[in-house]
Amino acid sequence: MIAAAAAPHIPAYQHLALPAPAWLLVTLSTITFWIHLIFVSAVVGISCILLLRCLLLRNRSEIDRQINSRALRSLPLCISLAINFGVAPLLFTQCLYGPWFYTASIFIAPFWLAVLALLLIGFISTYLARLKQSLIGFICTLLMPLAFIAILYIMTNNSVLTIQPEHWIEFHRHTSALHVPDPIVGPRLLHNLAIIITLGGLAWAWLSRSKPAPDSQLTQTNINRHATRIGLQYFFLGLPLQIAFTIWYLQTLPKPLQSQLLHTSNSISIIWYASLFLIGLALLTGIVAAFKAAGRFSLAITTILTALSLAGNLIVRQHIRTYYLSRDIAGNLDIYNPNSTTGWQVQNHNSAIIAFAILAVICLITIIVMLKLVRSRPAQS
């Protein structure tokens, strides 16, 4: 389906038509991937914060115990949703970039499969970490962030290997390698981690707000303030790191790509700058939120700005992939250019796309109805 000119002997079974225009697949992939990363941030961020708090806080007050336990209890749902929202971009990525994506994951197959074991370890740990003051509880508190960060490391290498076939040959030599020997890997990894800490801090601020226990002296305002302050500490830690690593990451990118992002006034550089601007703005609103820690408004604005900045980041990430795969060595892929010499074709499954849109609306309404039921109906028995 791709690069027929560069590689005339591509077998016929690659002649598969895309079931939707590439722009639609890219858009859906970016949106769902965005939500994936938001939940991933909640999972990795909260589990890291929990570990740090477990190590640093010797005498935990009642309020600390309450918000820790609330944050821990939010993890299983966040993990389920992080995984679920990983499946959607997985679908679209396979469809658009299958040949590169499959090959990369085959090269790192043992690690790729290890993601499953790590997920299980992480998942189970979120339950066992509830066993307070026990060795198992502590080990699981330790295992949770380690398992998730290991997944993050594997995912980042896979993403890099997917767009850099020049390294494939190296993976033939070391069949059980994972780390891609390229200068972009380090900064990309740290950049991902910093984003996750920034967003994870915000996730903590929201998700660790527990209701005060009936017999407790604590008020909801106290708890909210405490939860927000802790979350924002990590937000303020992650944010400068994110900016620093972004700049480093940028410097490791190929020169033409750098100049596209920095020096020309094209749509992608506008998004790039807008994303930086948004994160700067989030810094300011974050400071306001720290002062008004019990409230929701400025925290909500900070969260929205940070999430929007992430969305900008992801559009730039997509552009980076497009650039890398358009190189000769990657087969000159151009997914937006169907029916060109590349042999790339599109045959829309229109009725299925419409069914998807309708079902998406139905599902959204169902979810809203359920959430409303949960919020409004009083307990009866």
């Binding site: 690069a3 560069a6 590689a7 002997h9 591509i10 077998p11 016929a12 079974y13 002649h15 598969l16 038509a17 895309l18 079931p19 299983p76 749902l77 995984i83 679920n84 499946v87 959607a88 997985l90 679908l91 396979q94 469809c95 299958g98 040949p99 590169w100 499959y102 994951s105 085959i106 090269f107 197959a109 790729w112 499969l113 993601v115 499953l116 997920l119 076939p165 020049e166 494939w168 040959i169 190296e170 033939h172 030599r173 020997p181 190189r327 060595i329 087969g331 045959q347 499954h349 299925a352 998807f356 079902l359 998406a360 599902c363 169902t366 979810i367 039921l373 109906r377 009083p378 009866q380």
Partner: protein, 547 residues
């Protein structure tokens, strides 16, 4: 054939998929069945104000709803990850054809996750009716995800006439593809199996707890017994299903494969026994059930489900998509092209490229873009140090040298280096290089292994499960080559061999070397010294040339 091959040593690649998939099938069927059973039971409890049933559902919703949900999420991803590294070509085809079906399924699964968690967490915080509604949302979304995924699974055995993989691009029609000939009977079978697992699990839980009075236990048992009733439809649905399947695929069950026949019989008997028990003893005679019986029935149902899944998968051989894609990822419509043109040489060319590149000193990313131009995404790791001629004596003998004359670091390395000059070795077109390899036995074996990797390794590792070594023990190259000629009729569940007579020759030679008993027929230097009359290892055409 286009992608690098990955397999787990001793276990194979297909077994990795199978082990994850079977766990997933158990969990997913159970999740669907448990969801339906739960919703029905909660509605029943609401209508009849039966607090015991409500209490039972509440006490166990972690086991009934939450655990299968979590297990389903992880193993579901596991299937994605494993199929894409073991069978990327087929995964890619299915993704392109059914992208929107999976997207629909994904939407449903999102609702399933959210409703599952809400269901679990809101027992005490919302009204019973609202809670029951959420239970139904969970049940319906779980069931509908089965409705979608069932279409993709049955497409693989009965793709129907709307699919043509010989055109560019493939001809396909989405809805008839999803609702293909085997769709409905399979949906009925899966729903029955899901309900059975859900109800039997409930039966186990009811009897495992001492919290309920015998009367309460009996009420719950009756309810579970009713959910087992659809089992009476299992046999007619199975007959309908088989009626829809390609006749050749049925031949495995009617004697073509003993294992499959037995498993099929087991599944049938298992489900029938459960149906018989629940109808006669639970529903008609209203007997109570002990924990032991409930457990036994559940295990029986799990094994029967596993057996029927194994049969369903096995019936597809030698295809992954019936009549279109073989188990090794080669398209049936490609066959003539592969036989006649350079296409067959593709894995060979790829491997030759790698074989050449492996010896280049590594200095960071490969500098020359042309190196990978042949097929950037389709290179395969290959160990050119094939053990067969690691014996320096044999190499020396073949080259007419003494062992001492062999360069030390080259002992046991690929023989091509001894015949092709360094310059030639590095500059040749990989295909020319690959063909030069044919001039020597070792080179032939190297080519043979490349072909083996491309066409056979997906199903046969060298050692371990379904391994090739024991299968070809004591076979002569001639026997091997003959069987390769008509592999598909030699064993019905294998794809035909694709390649030129030369390729077949090389593959046969490579397989022959796997025997590891060369000295039984071939002379060694010692034999030579003692004048033992064995086949000389140097004689190239000591076995019948192929027609």
């Amino acid at each position: 054939m286009d992608y690098p091959i990955w397999y787990l040593p001793y276990f194979g690649g297909a077994m990795v998929i199978a082990s994850i998939a079977i766990v997933h099938v158990f969990i997913a069927h159970f999740a669907v069945g448990a969801g339906l059973f739960n919703a029905i039971a909660e509605t029943h409890a609401l209508r009849h104000n039966d607090t015991a049933i409500q209490k039972f559902l509440r006490d166990n919703s972690k086991l009934i709803i939450l655990l299968p949900l979590i297990g389903g999420v992880v193993t579901g991803v596991g299937i994605w990850f494993s199929i894409s590294i073991v069978s990327p070509e087929t995964t890619s085809i299915l993704i392109h054809l059914f992208l929107w079906a999976w997207a629909l399924e994904w939407l449903l699964f999102t609702v399933e996750i959210i409703s599952g968690y809400l269901y679990y967490y809101t027992w005490k915080t919302i009204s019973p009716r609202a809670h029951c509604f959420i239970g139904w949302v969970y049940a319906v979304s779980a069931f509908l995800s089965l409705v979608v995924i069932n279409g993709i699974l049955t497409f693989m055995i009965t793709p129907g006439h709307i699919f043509d993989s010989s055109t560019t691009p493939f001809t396909f029609s989405f809805w008839p593809g999803l609702f293909n000939p085997a769709y409905w009977p399979s949906l009925i079978l899966r729903t029955i199996s899901a309900l059975t697992l859900g109800a039997l699990f409930a039966l186990v839980l009811i009897n495992a707890s001492r919290k309920y009075t015998p009367a309460e236990r009996d009420r719950l048992t009756q309810l579970a017994g009713k959910a087992l009733l659809p089992l009476v439809l299992a046999i007619p649905a199975a007959v309908w299903y088989f009626f829809r399947c390609p006749p050749l695929s049925l031949s495995y069950l009617t004697g073509g494969s003993v294992v499959m026949g037995l498993l099929f019989a087991f599944a049938l008997v298992g489900f029938t026994l459960i149906a018989f028990y629940s109808y006669t003893f639970i529903i008609v005679r209203k007997h109570s059930v002990t924990l032991g019986t409930a457990l036994l029935l559940l295990i029986l149902a799990f094994i029967a489900t596993g057996a029927s899944e194994f049969v369903r998968e096995g019936m597809r051989k030698p295809y992954l998509i019936w009549n279109h894609v073989y188990s090794n990822g080669i398209l049936k419509s490609q066959a003539p092209a592969i036989r006649d043109t350079l296409t067959a040489q593709q894995p060979i060319r790829r491997e030759a490229t790698i074989a050449q590149l492996r010896d280049l000193p590594y200095t960071g990313p490969v500098p020359n873009d042309t190196v990978l131009r042949f097929h950037p995404w389709a290179i395969n790791p290959i160990d050119v140090n094939i053990p067969i001629v690691t014996d320096p004596q044999a190499i020396a003998l073949e080259l007419g040298l003494t062992v001492a004359q062999l360069p030390l670091d080259r002992q046991g390395a690929h023989l091509a280096e001894f015949t092709i000059s360094e310059a030639e070795f590095y500059t040749q077109d990989p295909l020319i290089f690959a063909n030069l390899l044919r001039q020597h036995r070792t080179g032939q074996a190297i080519r043979g292994q490349w072909i083996y990797n491309a066409q056979c390794l997906r199903c046969h590792d060298f050692d371990g499960y379904n391994a090739i070594k024991p299968l070809v023990r004591n076979w002569t190259p001639t026997m091997l080559a003959r069987s390769l000629e008509h592999l598909e009729s030699f064993r019905g569940f294998m794809p035909p061999f694709f390649g030129s007579p030369n390729d077949r020759d090389d593959l046969a030679y490579f397989m022959h070397t796997l025997d590891g008993q060369c000295s039984r027929c071939h002379e060694t230097l010692d034999d030579q010294a003692n004048r033992v009359n064995l086949l000389p290892i140097t004689a190239k055409d000591n076995w019948e040339p192929l027609p």
